[in-house]
Amino acid sequence: MEMKYKTENRQLTITLTGELDHHAAKDLMDSIDRCMEQNLPTKTLLDLGGLTFMDSSGIAVVLRAKRRMEALSGTLVVVNIPRQASRVLETAGLGRYVDLV
């Protein structure tokens, strides 16, 4: 699991690569929190294009990122969702709560 980010005009883009499971999720949540606190974005793009695997631990990561952005009065959009991760997010009906592109 690797996380990279870039920021431009208070838009934060977070890119994830590797396998997102429970083992990876806790550190990842902390990293995303810190990254948002430092950059205070008004919009965050969470780019899942590099994920080779994601289980329901990813749902918790997305929901937490969404809540953090709401606390900053900003928005979260999840982009480039690979097929396997998208099946997990769809089964959870996450599209009702979060912008999945």
Binding site: H22, M29, R87, T91
Partner: protein, 148 residues
């Protein structure tokens, strides 16, 4: 119903979260014998990951314990998986299987059983408080013509 088993494996490991990747990877290496599509393999890995994570997080919340996975290939291209722990157990299995139900913290979504159920053809959960839990899943792999 009696079902003939043509091949089986057993995996035993400790409830280190680092072993989640091992468990789903090892099962995928075994399931490869059934010539699954990438999507079928992804479904199986996801279901294994959910069941193993539950054993690590919920069965053994404050200690390391043993987890055993058995995988069998049954007739008609069916893969049967059981994930077993000797941990805390589940008081009310029916309630635990509801979508969004979770005794975990903010890190859990309560969608584990729901995902296992919709990614596999069949899910059975047997559990006894203080004794442990056994989750059994089946998935039929669509037979494909060999390309060559």
């Amino acid at each position: 119903m009696k079902t003939k088993c043509t091949n089986y494996i057993t995996l035993e490991f400790l409830s280190h979260s680092a072993n989640e990747g091992f468990a789903r990877g090892a099962v995928a290496c075994f399931a490869a014998q059934l010539d699954p599509t990438l999507e079928e393999l992804g479904d199986i890995k996801t279901a294994v990951s959910e069941a193993v994570t539950n054993a690590i997080v919920h069965a053994y919340p404050d200690r390391l314990g043993k987890i055993v996975i058995k995988a069998r290939i049954l007739e008609e291209n069916v893969l049967e998986l059981s994930v077993r722990d000797w941990g805390r157990g589940i008081a009310d299995v029916e309630k635990a299987r509801q979508p969004l139900f979770s005794t975990g913290g903010e890190e859990r979504s309560g969608m584990g059983f729901t995902i296992m159920e919709s990614f596999m053809d069949r899910l059975t959960v047997r559990s006894q408080e203080g004794k442990g839990t056994r989750v059994t899943m089946r998935r039929r792999i669509q037979p494909r013509r060999a390309v060559q």
